[in-house]
């Protein structure tokens, strides 16, 4: 396993999972939003989704040809499907479309069971070549 390299990725404790297109956020106390029910902060899940989408897009574009100069989220839309708990969060990314300047990525997140997703999101990324 390796981690997407940035301070944010360190803070989120994100690493790439063995399965292609999958990522893991290792739970830490600072990821909590509601400290009484010990659920993950919605912004933590949202950030995780943006980071995973970015990393997945870079990986795909590099595979297809010249690495981009930069890839960053231009917008994201996140749906919170279930109340999370204080445990690791996993993400599976699917590239919907890559053009010269944009990439759209769908990301679905779960905790223990992939059939019970807790958060999903679509991220539009700007590509600078």
């Amino acid at each position: 396993m390796s981690a997407p390299a940035s301070k944010l990725a360190e803070w989120l404790q994100v690493e790439t999972a063995e399965e292609d297109g999958c990522y893991r956020l290792a739970f830490a106390e600072h990821h909590l939003g509601n400290i009484w029910i010990r659920s993950l902060h919605g912004g933590v899940s949202g950030s995780f989704i943006e980071l995973c989408a970015e990393h997945e897009a870079v990986k795909t574009i590099e595979t297809d040809g010249q690495p981009p100069l930069a890839v960053f989220a231009s917008s994201s839309s996140v749906d919170y499907l279930r109340v999370t708990k204080d445990a690791d969060l996993y993400a599976r990314c699917r590239i919907v479309r890559t053009s010269r300047r944009l990439c759209v990525v769908d990301v679905v997140c779960w905790q223990d069971d992939e059939t019970l997703p807790v958060v999903r999101g679509t991220v539009t990324l700007k590509i600078e070549r």
């Binding site: 390299a5 940035s6 301070k7 944010l8 360190e10 803070w11 989120l12 106390e29 600072h30 990821h31 909590l32 939003g33 509601n34 400290i35 009484w36 029910i37 659920s39 902060h41 919605g42 912004g43 933590v44 949202g46 950030s47 995780f48 943006e50 980071l51 960053f72 989220a73 231009s74 917008s75 994201s76 839309s77 996140v78 749906d79 919170y80 279930r82 109340v83 999370t84 708990k85 905790q111 223990d112 069971d113 019970l116 807790v118």
Partner: protein, 148 residues
């Protein structure tokens, strides 16, 4: 005389783990609005280490819009983010002072609607804009009860 404490300040006190990474200063300009002032924290830098990753804006907007919604509750109860739409326009540098402005747009059927944005303090440049939707009173059964 001391300024009144916003209800969300009790949640995001020094005991909340998020505040170990960045200090938030709450300002309530008037009813239905909340401002949070922060310095762009180094812990949220992107790959170049100089500019803040968009994920920080997402985290801050969710915190601020949720706090704004908490401030409008008629009685104390938990809330949960249902949907978050964020547009990222500009990445500020680490250490730059930022202000997150939020407006409570209304509540219908137990769902609160809040809009917000982040601007760089020195010139007002827009960093991100967002709309957040929050369920008032969270589900009694979390994923924990379904999967252990």
């Amino acid at each position: 005389m001391n300024e009144p404490v916003h209800p969300a300040q009790l949640l995001f006190s020094e005991k909340h783990p998020l505040t170990s990474v960045f200090d938030m200063r709450f300002v309530v300009p008037d009813k239905q609005r909340l401002e949070i002032h922060v310095e762009a924290p180094a812990a949220f830098a992107g790959q170049d280490g100089e500019r803040i990753h968009t994920g920080f804006a997402t985290l801050l907007l969710d915190t601020a819009m949720g706090s704004c919604a908490i401030g409008e509750l008629k009685k104390a109860q938990p809330i949960a983010t249902v949907k978050l739409n964020v547009n990222h326009l500009f990445s500020p540098r680490v250490g730059e002072p930022l202000v997150c402005n939020t407006v409570y747009d209304g509540e219908e059927n137990g769902i609160a609607y809040v809009s917000g944005n982040i601007r760089r303090v020195k010139d007002g440049r827009l960093v991100s804009t967002a709309i957040g939707t929050f369920m008032i009173g969270t589900a009694t059964r979390s994923i924990r009860e379904k999967t252990g």
